[in-house]
Symmetry: D2
Subunit: 337 residues, 4 copies
């Protein structure tokens, strides 16, 4: 065996996602009353939310804005030293923005942009959630009482971003953040990278990049919250349907990730997933699973297939529709330069 670099282990997990919404009151109703999240904090135009099982104070920042989409994506590092190392490497790669004092509940953070332009940050210090008396759980290893309200999402799971150039962003995630590549969709005999699913932890994926068929930048495909059981996903489907929320796809089982998915649009327009099942990856030398046009199919192992809007729609929205056939996707990606 020739000498080979050891895998980076500097990023611990996805820590926080900021979503923009032009309808902050209704979006809050969706996340608090329908998904069952708790408000941890409010400041300025933002509300800080959390799932009942999140150990951190807050994992979702909902910010009123003129349009929808994703704001800052925060990653926790495995140590203070890892934070310094990653900040230096990212800076050296020319993607750095600079240090901030950290948002609510988190210590100083280094901000940067991924190659596609999404804003991200890394941080180490994190305030653990201390439940107020009325939310104190009698299960000692649960940071917060299980209230049973709404869908009862437990914790943040992952997010999927669109990118004009999937390969560049995937390589950035692997090389600079140390994420492990778990699965890919590649068309045209493997030459065209349509999507890549990666993770810094045993969770199947915490970050996915999928090609932006409209050639835009910095957009969000979906943000995903975890529930413990498939029955919880179906219960969420009942609750969302009863409350007039548009369900785009699912409940169904993905082929990629084997996750049991339910995609709806929160009132602000962002696609949100309630998610369960899937599988863990613990192999240090995991061989990425690659799906071609045929194998990928509709992205569904069984159940409701992903509709065309799953490829066409993202936030903020871009007008017009693209015939996202394998051929068109291939050409779109070929035209990247």
């Amino acid at each position: 065996m020739t000498a080979q670099a050891e895998p980076l282990h500097d990023i611990a997990h996805l820590g926080n996602v900021e979503l923009f919404t032009p309808k902050p009151d209704k979006s809050l109703w969706y996340f608090r009353d329908l998904l069952g999240m708790e408000i941890a904090h409010e400041a300025g135009d933002s509300v800080y939310l959390r799932g009942y099982g999140d150990y951190a104070t807050s994992t979702l920042k909902l910010t009123a804005a003129a349009t929808n989409g994703v704001g800052c994506v925060s990653w926790r590092t495995t140590s203070p030293q890892a934070l310094e190392r990653r900040a230096k490497a990212i800076e050296a790669a020319g993607l750095g923005i600079g240090w901030t004092n950290g948002d609510y509940g988190r210590g100083r953070a280094y901000r940067f942009r991924d190659p596609d332009g999404h804003i991200m940050e890394i941080y180490y210090e994190e305030q653990k959630y201390i439940a107020p008396p009325e939310l104190h759980s009698n299960l000692k290893n649960l940071p917060q009482k299980f209230t049973g309200r709404g869908a009862g999402v437990r914790r943040i799971d992952h997010l999927a971003l669109l990118a004009k150039d999937v390969e560049a962003n995937r390589k950035f995630s692997q090389d600079l953040l140390g994420f492990q590549l778990r699965e890919q969709v590649r068309y045209d005999q493997g030459k065209t990278e349509i999507g890549s699913w990666m993770s810094p932890t045993a969770i199947h994926h915490q970050l996915a990049y999928v090609v932006d068929v409209k050639g835009a930048h910095g957009r969000l495909h979906h943000f995903s919250m975890w529930v413990d059981n498939r029955d919880d996903v179906m219960r969420a489907a009942d609750i969302l349907t009863e409350n007039g929320i548009f369900i785009e796809a699912g409940p169904s089982k993905h082929n990629n990730s084997q996750g049991f998915y339910l995609y709806s649009y929160e009132p602000g327009g962002n696609r949100v997933e309630v998610y369960s099942s899937s599988f863990l990856v613990v192999a240090p030398d995991w061989e990425p699973v690659t799906w071609n046009e045929e194998e990928r199919g509709t992205g569904t192992y069984w159940g409701a297939t992903l509709p065309d809007s799953f490829i066409q729609y993202a936030t903020p929205d871009v007008q017009g529709s693209v015939a996202a056939t394998p051929e068109v996707l291939k050409e779109a990606i070929a035209s990247l330069s």
Copy 2:
């Protein structure tokens, strides 16, 4: 913040567990026909088995022997370099046995004993499972067809060992293997360590040490296999009951780990768990949750409580029964020297 060592990340996951059985045919029937595992290999007195979702060729080695209990416990490292580092550190600690060429499906391994005397090994090279045609799954990220036979356990999850001195073994696991301590049971105002649950990965625990109330060494409390849904655990209970297997406890929900458990004795006498639910730990600075006498209670959050045999019985069995009251446990541990 003062300088602080970064957490070790040299062990990737639990790789294999060897179980001894005086009734090899019946034990094989239990694991293959009732739990639904596949035979990957047979050699000498051993049968090598796997769950349908295990990426490795084999994760359970069943070895015919005069008595029951646990044989070698194998841990995969995160890299070849990590293997060398850990081997040196363990050797330096005086616990080493030496290198072997590796068992079926794995490369060279360094063998050692934990402080209680259980045999373990670490290795890096692992043969990924290649399914024969009749076991080829049409789900590309599944290493093997889901046959639906028996309980259909997906993968190895964890094991619990008894130890005369829990603290010594817990410290060994933290310091030399780099496991993160997740939860503890401590009696007598925290002075008496009854049990410790640890993991090298996001899985809640892959190794637990619990006090051996009979003062013996090298014994097994239980070996645990994962299923994806709580319904699968209950389905396993139906199947085990219909086949006359003794169910000791569950299906029920643990307080510690929040796991949904089902403990039965395989025909060879070893306690085996079919397990689901629980929660993942991704915090790099996870603060261990500690339960005292009162909080620990029966170990059950709701449902079937753990009976006295859960404390008294382990393999190989030691005659006699001990009144495992908190006081007795305290004294037993106080007498360790």
Copy 3:
């Protein structure tokens, strides 16, 4: 085949159960906020509640009272004619009380006592539930929106009453109400009838009589509400536990009825079951399944066994405890006269 009377089909289903509670506010909190029932009406000392799937306006009447226990048990007949027929037959049997104008949401009813003294009534006219706009479901065959609040019990399922003389009450239910006997527990080589489970519909049982080991009369063992999935029962266990409600037994699987059960005490002291699974009986000539001392065991197929309180405690409570061994039960029943 000799001429044989056709089975009666005059009772359609259990319609309503009245529970007494000395803690009406807390009991209401339990049924509305924890179990998720809706208030349909309030009058005098009573609150009328319903499950989201009940087609009738109300199925549970909660009445403030000095003590706990069961009030009037209402059964709907299959037709107006069936109501007249049953009223006459019951009157002729000397158990009649007389006609009433009917409680909230129901037409005129004929009241009577079962041999043990519990008050019951039969009625035919029933007001179907019309949801107010805010509770209108967008699922057309659902009478009320699924709110997702608390355990979300769907509908009334059954109740179990204690009786000094099970046989007399069972015969009354079969002969005068036309219930089909589904299962029995008989001790002492079948001579001593400990409990009988009966139903007027395909639901496994809607009425059970179990021996009152304390020799009292007119008491309630438990009242049971249905949820659609076993996961809902476990979710209910989480919610009840988080809210400090005493769980007596379960979640577990009964041998008798195969039901998946969860027994808790509502704040007023009455035992309430959240229930799912079980099986339907459609055979017109169903042969009752009879369990003897040994076969009955703890009443549990797997999981949490039923504790001694399950036999000792009922509402209203009677002081003292009885060693409910098979021998004692046999003697207690032998002494009935």
Copy 4:
């Protein structure tokens, strides 16, 4: 209240369905190995199968034939007298064929045709299943051991037939068999009856008639088997997919019936449903729920929608495709005479 006839209660439940298959060996593999049914008997070109929870000896008769489709549909009556009454009434209606000695496990039966030409029969005497030793369950109220093989379908649930004139067949079922109408799909302001769901028991529906858009007669839409949990339906989807069986729709939740469905084509071509959830109807005066074009939508509450084949395909197949728009359906039905 004016005098009103009492509801008939002469039919107890669906007893047996005969399916024709041109691929008997592969169909048997599907029902026995994939769905998990047991063979109860074999005779001539037929194999008699059963679900593990069916109390009758056999509930599915699989008969080798030149083409696929449905053979005789058998209904059990509530009593011997009910059998005579129904036979006379059907004969008087001019639909009778005559008495037979009864098929395997059943007593004498009266055969007839429904208005669309499907062959049916009614019978009372039924042989209860006595499990051979190797299939004896240790759960006393379970007629057969739960083997855990394949999808493990518990019992027969219902069947759906196509009919040129839904109204005529629905009225026949109500008037002559005494079935209660549960739900309907009616287009064109209620004037055009597209489908009707009926039942003789609390099970939501045991017989459905749906319009045959190709104007044929005597065809089968689907045959449905029950599993206890939605997880079992999803497990069935995994098993069917792994074994190359075509899944047409689901797992998803119907709006009509609220059932959780999975439709696949068994190798002989017949559409078979694995089914769970749904709801019971116990109201003696149930008001049928009627869905118009808009409300019916795709027939799905959430999840995978029913594809066009769900309307176009039935067995035996009729060549050609019809644009089954509401307008076309309306005209097709208007042309019935």
